[in-house]
């Protein structure tokens, strides 16, 4: 019983420590979404195929919100003529890289961890994009 109450107290302490980071993340996300509506992102694409891939990964990295929003934006881009590689880079970086979440990740898991992980995930998003489309072609 004493173990349980001690564990509960420790959990509450850790949870309260997490709350300002979480509330800050929600406030920051809502502010950025208000400043940068999704429709404005569409206008950025379509200039050059290779540049679109990089742009897809960058937009996905700074984007936030439900992954479904990434699928919908990806679908719109694809319908608008943007390559599947660029769209895949956007979808993957959307769910693996977190530029906006970086402060929270750095505070709780360490700056070096957060920086290395996000850089790796950014590169992986581009690699996965090329591999996915390459494998799709191979499979016919």
């Amino acid at each position: 019983m004493a173990d349980t109450s001690q564990a509960l107290a420790r959990t509450l302490r850790a949870f309260v420590q997490m709350l300002p980071i979480l509330l800050g993340m929600l406030l920051l996300t809502s502010l950025i979404l208000a400043w940068l509506p999704r429709t404005q992102l569409l206008a950025l694409f379509g200039r050059h195929a290779s540049l679109d891939v990089l742009l897809g990964a960058v937009v996905g990295s700074v984007a936030m919100g439900h992954p479904l929003a990434g699928y919908i934006l990806g679908g719109e881009l694809l319908a608008g003529g943007v390559s599947l590689i660029a769209v895949t880079a956007l979808i993957v970086s959307w769910v693996t890289v977190g530029v906006v979440q970086f402060p929270a990740e750095a505070l709780l898991l360490g700056r070096r961890f957060a920086l290395t992980r996000n850089l790796l995930c950014f590169l992986f998003a581009i690699a996965i994009a090329y591999l996915t489309v390459g494998m799709m072609r191979l499979l016919g």
Partner: protein, 169 residues
């Protein structure tokens, strides 16, 4: 690290509140929209927070450092990697709600590589796979999901290698 976690969070929150305040002065309508969006997101996140609290409590109560090391530490082997991938795939809610639990597990002995694997495997969203297939096709969904699962392992291996302390080498 503990000090950083304790005060850094409040400083971060204060900075974001200041940014909201500045926005309210310059663009009151935009600030109102942002605040409404914040309330909607908070409602969405609240149930996940309850789940995170319960998991944090269970980890605190029942996961001893020795047990954590056995399941998710260096000696956990293939079971540890699989556990991290599966936990990542089935975890729900925004990623930042899971940082505190992962930090706690890492303090108890969870391998850094497996923290990275779990965070990466979260990219596979089980409930959303039908939608991904709907937008881009079943084959695309399968290929992408398999690649993400494979890259989650690669991510873990590379993270551990890159973050290794010089004295540990």
């Amino acid at each position: 690290m503990q000090g950083k976690r304790k005060f850094g969070g409040w400083l971060f929150l204060a900075g974001v509140i200041l940014a909201h305040g500045a926005t309210a002065l310059v663009e009151p309508d935009l600030a109102r929209r942002a605040l409404a969006s914040f309330v909607a997101m908070l409602r969405e996140v609240a149930p996940v927070l309850v789940l995170v609290f319960v998991l944090m409590f269970l980890a605190e109560r029942f996961l001893t450092p020795a047990r954590t090391r056995a399941w998710l530490g260096r000696g956990s082997g293939l079971r540890g990697w699989l556990l991290a991938v599966v936990a990542g795939v089935i975890s729900t809610g925004p990623v930042y709600t899971w940082y505190a639990l992962l930090a706690e597990l890492r303090d108890k002995g969870m391998r850094t590589a497996l923290v990275a694997v779990l965070l990466y495997a979260r990219a596979i969203k089980l409930p959303l796979l039908p939608l991904l297939a709907h937008y881009f096709g079943l084959r695309y969904m399968l290929v992408l999901s398999l690649l993400i699962a494979g890259f989650s392992i690669l991510n873990g291996l590379l993270m551990e290698r890159l973050l290794r302390q010089p004295e540990a080498e």
